[in-house]
């Protein structure tokens, strides 16, 4: 189920503006890879190219290739909609559908993929996904209540449950804890640790401690200045990055001497 990703010489453009330049990296299956770097360095943009979500913005395009187990996601015959069914995503702010109940939220993506499913199968899947997101015990008595009635941290776990309900190959997380309090953050981090036994996880974070806590590999992105493209500076084992980075810029950033 979990798949590996190889990115070769990827450039990301918004119109004629080069936002991210020449990224090549590999993401191992069943592991957590963290992207860190200052604001505007292109790490979120780059993350979105892994499930083609950047295409939501008009004029966005890429050059280069993203291989998922050898298949180029940017092949002309690849449907971006299909890509997103294989590469799930969790956003910065929890975004459950406000008009749907908790159970409906979990099943939202599944219903897209295979239309009808029996009531029993649906209930099983809701329980399985919510358990997978460590949320089951908290919400099992109010599955028909709106998703927006939950706390922020619960909502974010609901979004993770929604994402894993469609059994993706890769799970992308774009600063999933930046809108949460420390206790909720801890719950999500614990969840990430559990999820990586089944999924390939890529997480963008501003919180370097979080990167150090949850990831096996860390990639550091940086930007030379406003209007310049973001670049991948280096990628290595997380312990190496945080103890002995090979680049000066990385060391400056993680030790707080940045800027």
């Amino acid at each position: 189920m979990a798949k590996r990703i190889d990115v070769n010489n990827l450039n990301v453009y918004y119109g004629s503006f080069l936002a991210v330049e020449d990224v090549s990296l590999s993401i191992e299956p069943k592991s957590v890879t963290a992207f860190i770097g200052p604001s505007g360095c292109g790490k979120s943009t780059f993350l979105r190219t892994l499930n083609r979500m950047h295409e939501v913005i008009p004029g966005a395009r890429v050059e280069g290739e993203v291989l998922m187990d050898g298949t180029n996601l940017y092949d002309s015959n690849v449907d971006p909609v299909a890509v997103r069914r294989h590469v799930g995503m969790v956003f910065q702010r929890p975004n459950p559908f406000p008009t749907m109940s908790i159970a409906e939220n979990v099943l939202a993506g599944v219903k897209l993929n295979n239309g009808r499913m029996s009531k029993g199968d649906g209930e099983d899947l809701v329980e399985q996904s919510l358990r997978g997101a460590n949320l089951w015990d908290e919400v099992k008595d109010r599955l028909d209540k709106p998703g927006s009635s939950l706390s922020g941290g619960q909502q974010q776990r609901l979004c993770i449950a929604r994402a894993i309900a469609i059994k993706p190959d890769v799970l992308l997380m774009d600063e999933p804890c930046s809108a949460l309090d420390p206790i909720s953050t801890l719950a999500i981090e614990d969840l990430i640790q559990e999820l990586k036994t089944d999924y390939t996880i890529v997480i963008v974070t501003h919180n370097m401690q979080q990167a150090a806590r949850v990831s096996e590999k860390t990639a550091f992105f940086n930007i030379a200045g406003t209007g310049k493209p973001g670049k991948l500076i280096e990628m290595d084992d997380t312990t190496t990055i945080f103890s002995a980075p090979s680049e000066r810029a990385t060391e400056d950033y993680i030790s707080g001497r940045f800027g």
């Binding site: 909609v81 995503m89 975004n95 008009t99 749907m100 939202a108 897209l112 927006s148």
Partner: protein, 332 residues
């Protein structure tokens, strides 16, 4: 930076009410404006009620005697005439709404989610322009240009779908109205008139859909249409209902277009391709008022009161629909 802050803080004592006059004034003004609406509504209701009272309370049959369009020899009373008119008003407005709402939502979605940005802006501007055209112009256009074009289509409709009561031809002549001045024409022109209103409002609502929800849907592998169903429609539901009600409000009260297009009559027939079966309250008042005597005016105002009440009921119904699932509205 810090020093400036400090100085300001020293100059303004904690007890100072800065610009309190403006604040109080503005508060009074907005409260007054809100109260004014209530006063106006009450004034209109009171006017309708007092003027219509003689007609409503008439039991002696004097009313039917004095008002030429109430024909007691046909067993008609004011209530019955009003009943026919309410039926006609609701039938024509409902058909107009049935035609206009899906079209408007389609146009609004195209502008908000499908069209390239530049085309969307131009189209939005055009739609707003359409909303500014006076109804009498729509009426003229409908009567002179649209109806002759539609009439052959009506004939075709009656030939092949005449078994549906809605499209039944005239039982005595076996054909539909040769002029096309029928309820469906009035409903179509009303639909064209309310499309800009419904479109403009729904478009704004659709544009307000939170990016977060749209992206949530797309990231799960929703196509654009699935995303719209999942994120845009649920979010815009109350807005769509509100826009539809705005459109319905205009349709219910629209006078000129109906007045100029419809061959009128009084009945509760659903045959929208036959002329001389329907009329609306607003158009009826407008056509009968000039020649009305005192009792007639009172009876016409009673009809106005009926329209007023219907409009209120429709709005209350709409609010109830919107509030029924307010827990799920996302307005938290």
């Amino acid at each position: 930076m810090t020093t400036t802050d400090k100085r300001v803080a020293e100059e303004v004592p904690l007890t100072a009410h800065r610009r309190s006059l403006t604040n109080v004034g503005f508060e009074w003004l907005s409260t007054g404006a809100a109260a004014l609406i209530l006063v106006l509504l009450a004034a209109v209701a009171a006017f309708l009620l007092t003027e219509a009272w003689p007609a409503i309370t008439d039991t002696s049959g004097e009313l039917a005697d004095k008002v030429s369009w109430i024909k007691p020899e046909d067993g008609e009373s004011l209530l019955q005439v009003v009943g026919y008119l309410i039926f006609g008003t609701l039938l024509i407005s409902a058909i107009a709404l049935l035609i206009a709402t899906p079209l408007s939502i389609g146009i609004a979605l195209f502008i908000s989610h499908y069209a390239p940005r530049r085309l969307a802006a131009g189209l939005g501007y055009l739609i707003d322009l359409l909303a500014a055209i006076p109804s009498v112009v729509y009426g003229l256009w409908g009567a002179i240009v649209l109806i002759p074009v539609l009439q052959p289509f009506y004939a075709w409709l009656a030939t092949y779908f005449g078994w549906i009561p809605l499209f039944a031809p005239d039982p005595t002549t076996g054909v539909v109205s040769p002029t096309g001045r029928v309820a469906l024409s009035a409903a179509l022109v009303l639909a064209i008139m309310i499309i800009p209103i419904i479109t403009a409002v729904t478009r704004e609502v659709f544009l307000q859909t939170p990016k977060l929800h749209e992206e949530a849907a797309l990231a799960m592998g929703a196509t654009r249409w699935e995303m719209i169903r999942m994120a845009v429609f649920p979010f815009g539901r109350s807005g769509i209902v509100g826009a539809t009600m705005l459109g319905l409000g205009r349709a219910l009260g629209e006078t000129m277009a109906v007045y100029m297009i419809l061959s009128v009559g009084l009945s509760t027939s659903f045959a929208i391709l036959q002329s001389g079966n329907h009329n609306t309250i607003a158009a009826y008042i407008a056509s009968q008022f000039p020649e009305a005597n005192m009792q007639g005016v009172s009876a016409l105002i009673a009809m106005g009161l009926a329209l007023f009440i219907i409009t209120l009921l429709v709005n209350m119904l709409a609010r109830w629909i919107v509030s029924r699932r307010s827990e799920f509205s996302g307005a938290n």
